[in-house]
Structures are given as C-alpha cells and as structure tokens.
C-alpha cells in the first residue's frame, strides 16, 4: 500500500431536515494523512457530516472538497472512500475473503490480483487464517478487523469510520484503539472518525473536532482541546471539569483576581488571551486532577477549605466531592498511594491549586 493520503475540506456544510438543522454551517479541513475525529453527543450532527462526506446524505448547502476538487454531487460509489460502518455491515452470505474482495470485484480486478490484495489486507489486520469463515463465526473484534480490511483493500482516498469500536466491550475496545492507531501510522492514509467516546477520541486522533447541536464548537489537537477548552461545553464533554464563576475584581499584567462571593481566586491569563476589564463576569474551568488536597503546612496560589460531601474509591485513587463555601461542590481526585488524608463524609479538608491550573472559558451560546 502506498503512503499517500488525500486532504478533505468541508465548506459551509449544512443539512436541514424540514425545520430541523442537523448540521449548521460547518467548515473544517482534514489534512493529508491526518486522523481526525468528529466528537459530540448523540444528535450533534457528527454522523450526518460523515454521511455527507461518504455521499449518502445530500447537503442542503455547502460543499465537500477532496484535494480542492468539489465532490458534493458525486454518488457514494464514485467517491472511492473506504468506510467502516457502525455494526460493521459485513455481508452475512459471504465469507471473510469474499467480503474483503467485494470492493475489488466491483472494480473488475482479475482473480489473481484480487487474491493477492485480499491476502495483504487480511495480513495487515492479522486475520490471514480466517479467510473461509462467515462473519457470524467471528468474534466482535475479528468482525471489526474484517470491516477494516474491507475498507482499506482498494487503496481508498479516505477512510471513514462510523463509531468503529462502539459495539465492543471495554477491554477489547482499548486493545483495538491501539491497533487502529498503529494501523493508521502504517498505512499513512487520511482517517475521518466519528465517535461519542471522548477517551477514544483523545487516544486515537491527531485532531478532534467537537460538535454540538450541529455546530462545530472547537477543533484542535487533543491536548490543546483538553488544556484550553474554548467553551463550557468543550470543557465538560472532554474529560471532567469544575466550573467556578465570578467577577473580575482586578487585572494586571498576566494575572487577574476573580471574586466569587467572599472568595478571591488568583488566576493567570492564558497566553494570547485579552485582559478582561474589572467587573466583567468570568467562568473558570478547573480540572479535578489539578486540585491538590493540602496537608497542614502546604500552600498554593489558591487555597480553600471545605467538607467532604461524598467520595468513592476507584482503585488508583479517590474521587471526592467537596462542599466549598462560595464555590459550591468541587470535584477533586486524590491519589490513593500515600494519601495525606483518609476520606470520610463530613471531614474538613484544604484544597489548593495554582494560578495557571484553571482556564477561563466562554459560556455556551444558547
């Protein structure tokens, strides 16, 4: 297989069903060889976008461009895209080799060429010895690999994945995530993935595009999205987050002080962010793992005291819900290994975080 990917671009893509707008003016570029994931809750329009790229859904407005060429009017069979469907859509009356060979048969390849390519594709997903089995004789993970081999066997311009791992149990999912990532690096093609699983998106993707109510909210590398979410929705959907709201009481240099009731929060301004005027209301996103449970002598830029309202033991650590005056309920995680405190309900504890731990985020547009 060659290592050439194609670049895909969506320009103002819109899909309306009657008065319902499933996809609202989405513009997005997928670079050549990139693994991009469309992430969003159900009903966010991510699958509709994928179906529009595949050619199964005709957009109401906007264009789909492949290497700059407008492919919006092309039917699916003319697009040369490999696709892994949700539930895999393997042909139940064909064995593994016939399933994988189907795209080649359609293209009129000779028997010998077909056999060679099918073998290569099945070896790529480590299923070389299963050629004669019917799909129903395979496990979920094996079916998933057959679907991948079938989608890649004809050297497609682009590989589209519709919730490829959602039907698998948790352990197998983690295993196949790694395999899928390795496969992407091996074949060097452009992958466009759709999922509602944020962990899958974070671990697989070069870039993630987060969607909600049909709109593109934010796109970027996984770490960039996690560390600098633009809106409350992104911070909440990608990982867990506490939200602290208050008003700016002073701002100078790269620092500001946010007043939340009687509590003063020292907050660093992220690089490139405009300095807010005093009196402006701000919303801060603070990840649970960036909050430390402080001992008697420890100090931090921000220190608050609260009482444990609930906790659960997760093996590697504790998840704590701490009632803090002015800030409401704050979630924090505490490593179980040499924990400074033994959690119990009603215990008064000190929480601390540094000035650059939280990030200001925008409230979601209505």
């Amino acid at each position: 297989m060659s290592t050439s990917g194609h670049a895909l671009a969506l320009d103002g893509l819109t899909k309306r069903y009657g008065s319902f707008t499933a996809v609202d003016n989405v513009s997005l570029r997928v670079e050549s060889g990139e693994f991009l994931t469309l992430l969003g809750p159900s009903g966010s329009g991510k699958t509709t976008i994928l179906m529009a790229v595949a050619g199964f859904v005709a957009p109401s407005a906007g264009t789909v461009l492949l290497d700059g060429r407008d492919i919006t009017p092309l039917p699916p069979e003319k697009r040369d895209f490999g696709m892994v469907f949700q539930g895999y859509a393997l042909f139940p009356h064909m064995n593994v080799a016939e399933n994988v060979g189907f795209p080649l048969r359609v293209r009129g390849l000779s028997r010998a060429d077909r056999d060679a390519k099918v073998r290569a594709a099945l070896d790529l997903v480590q299923l070389g010895q299963f050629t004669d089995r019917l799909p129903k004789q395979l496990s979920g993970g094996q079916q998933q690999r057959v679907a991948l081999a079938r989608a890649l066997v004809f050297d497609p311009n682009l590989l589209l994945l519709d919730e490829p791992l959602s039907a698998l149990d948790k352990k197998l999912r983690a295993e196949l995530q790694e395999e899928l990532k390795a496969l992407h690096q091996r074949v060097g093609r452009t992958f466009l993935n759709v999922t509602h699983d944020q962990e899958e998106a974070l671990s697989l993707s070069d870039r993630i595009a987060i969607l909600n109510h049909g709109k593109l909210i934010q796109a970027g590398a996984p770490a960039a999205l996690y560390e600098r979410p633009a809106t409350r929705f992104v911070a909440d959907f990608l990982g867990k987050s506490n939200f602290l709201s208050g008003t700016v009481s002073e701002a100078s240099g790269a620092m500001m002080v946010v007043a939340a009731g009687a509590t003063r929060i020292t907050q660093a301004l992220p690089e490139g962010a405009a300095r807010p005027a005093p009196g402006a209301s701000v919303l801060l996103s603070l990840r649970p793992e960036k909050i430390a449970v402080l001992g008697e002598q420890d100090s931090a830029d921000n220190v608050v005291t609260g009482t444990i309202a609930g906790w659960s033991y997760l093996g590697a650590g504790y998840s704590l819900r701490v009632a803090v005056p002015d800030l409401g309920e704050i979630r924090a995680v505490l490593s179980a290994w040499r924990a400074p405190i033994a959690p119990r309900d009603g215990l008064a504890i000190r929480l601390g975080w540094s000035a650059d731990a939280a990030v200001p985020v925008a409230e979601d547009a209505a």
Partner: protein, 280 residues
C-alpha cells in the same frame, strides 16, 4: 403433584382438540385413501389410470403448468411489491401493507366474478381495447387458461408478499449502503447483496404459492368456464357429477401426496416452522 401426573394433566387438556382433529380431519382423509383402493373394485386400478388415461394426464399437466406460471408471476409481482414496501418509510409501509392485505378479506367468489366482468368479451378491458383501436376483435381473456392465471395470480400475490417481505425486513439496509460505498452501483448492490439475502424468502413464498395453487377450486371453476380443468375441479366433477368415487379419491390422494412431497423436499432447504410463522 409429581411430574408424570402433571404431564398427564397437560395431555388431558389438549385431548379434545386432538380428538376433534382425528374425527374430522384425519379420519376422512384415511377414508378417501381407502376408497381410492376399493372403488369400484379392490386393487390399484384407479392408480393405473395415472399412466394409461390421457384425460387424467392432461388434467395433471394442465394443473402443474398453471400452478408453475401462477407461481412465477406471483413471485415476480410480489417481489417488486415487497421490495418497495421493505424500503419504504415506516408510515408508508403501513399503507402499502393494507393495500396488499385488503383483497384477502374479500370473498374469492366475489373476486372471481369481478374478473369475469372485467375480462369477458363485452367487459371493461375489451371495450376499452376496441374503442381505443388497439384490437379489432375482442380478445378471449376469460374462460380459458389466461383467465384462470389472472385470477389466481391476483389471489396469490399477498401470499407471495408476506414471506418475502419478512425476509427482506431482516436485511440490514446498511449492507446496501456499504456495497455502494465500496463502489457498487445500485444495480450491482441489489444483485450481489439484496437478491441473495432475500432468496430464502423467495423460496418460501414459491413453495407456499405453489402448494396453495395446486388445490385451487373456485377461481379456476369460474374463470375457466368448465373448458380448462384443474385437479380440484376435476375431482369435484368425478365425485359429484359422474359418481366415480374411486377415480376422484385417487386424484385427491395424489394431491395430498404431491403437497407432502413438495413440503418434504423444501423442508430440507428451509426452515418450515419459520415459513409458517411459528418459532422465532
């Protein structure tokens, strides 16, 4: 209560139904079988006629031909209908199904006479054809094999649709999308995916329609006008008009045997319990 007694209790519960079946169904059939060997004299005389009597052979061949044609036509029409219904929106499916099933609630007799009015020499079809100048003389559309087939196909289409539709509904529509995504046009996707996957339903519908057609009585009697005889009408003629009980019961036995053989052959190919709607 121990298990044995409990089991006996269940048997007692179904005993009335069982006795009813034996008394009114199995016993007469056995009697038919017995008569075919005893009337007019003991022996295989009646069955010899299968090989020696031209008119007996003609009836059988006519019946098989009409049933085969009916089955093929009902399958083709039924397949097109089922395909449309299976791929229609859920709301439209309800209406389509109604249109297919409503004719089943109308008496066979009424429908046969309705076809006579449509197809006879001064009927609607011929009037229209002659006034439009398509034909000069009215066509012979009824009281022949053509008329019988029209009436039988009309009756059989719903029976062809139901098994085919149920097998088509089990086909995941994503399979067709997948085939097209891999470069197959609509036609190829249909031929290589949908058609093979719907084949069990087609075979089931074919068996059902063929077996049903074998014993058709009213429709061929009315639309055949006594000139084209099928097995059921011929049996009626032998027993009721010619009082040849032996010959009539012989043919009736052959009909039952033919049906059982067809079922036996196809039960090897497909799951009969699913075809007739029991089991999951």
């Amino acid at each position: 209560m121990n298990g044995m007694a409990q089991q006996r209790g269940w048997w007692l519960l179904i005993a009335p139904a069982f006795l009813l079946m034996v008394a009114f169904y199995v016993a007469p059939i056995l009697q038919v079988l017995a008569i075919s060997f005893t009337e007019p004299e003991l022996g295989f005389g009646n069955y010899e006629r299968l090989f020696t009597n031209m008119s007996v052979q003609r009836v059988i061949i006519t019946t098989l031909r009409i049933c085969a044609i009916t089955t093929v036509l009902a399958l083709i029409l039924g397949y097109a209908l089922s395909y449309t219904i299976a791929l229609a929106a859920p709301r439209a499916q309800v209406w389509w199904l109604m249109t297919v099933l409503v004719p089943l609630w109308i008496s066979v007799l009424v429908r046969a006479f309705a076809w006579v009015t449509l197809l006879r020499r001064q009927g609607l079809v011929n009037t229209w054809l002659t006034s439009a100048g398509i034909v000069e003389q009215p066509l012979e559309l009824v009281w022949n094999e053509f008329g019988i087939i029209v009436g039988m196909v009309h009756y059989m289409v719903p029976f062809a649709v139901l098994p085919m539709l149920s097998s088509m509904r089990e086909i995941d529509p994503r399979l067709l999308a997948a085939a097209r995504g891999m470069g197959a046009g609509r036609g190829l996707a249909f031929r290589s995916i949908f058609l093979p996957l719907s084949l069990p339903g087609v075979i089931a519908a074919g068996v059902l329609v063929f077996i049903f057609s074998l014993g058709f009585y009213i429709t061929p009697a009315i639309l055949g006008g006594g000139k084209t005889l099928m097995v059921a009408e011929w049996i009626g003629l032998q027993i009721l008009d010619l009082i040849r009980w032996g010959l009539g019961t012989m043919m009736a036995t052959m009909l039952v045997v033919a049906i059982l053989v067809t079922l036996a052959v196809f039960s090897r190919v497909l799951d009969l319990r699913r075809l007739f709607g029991s089991g999951a």
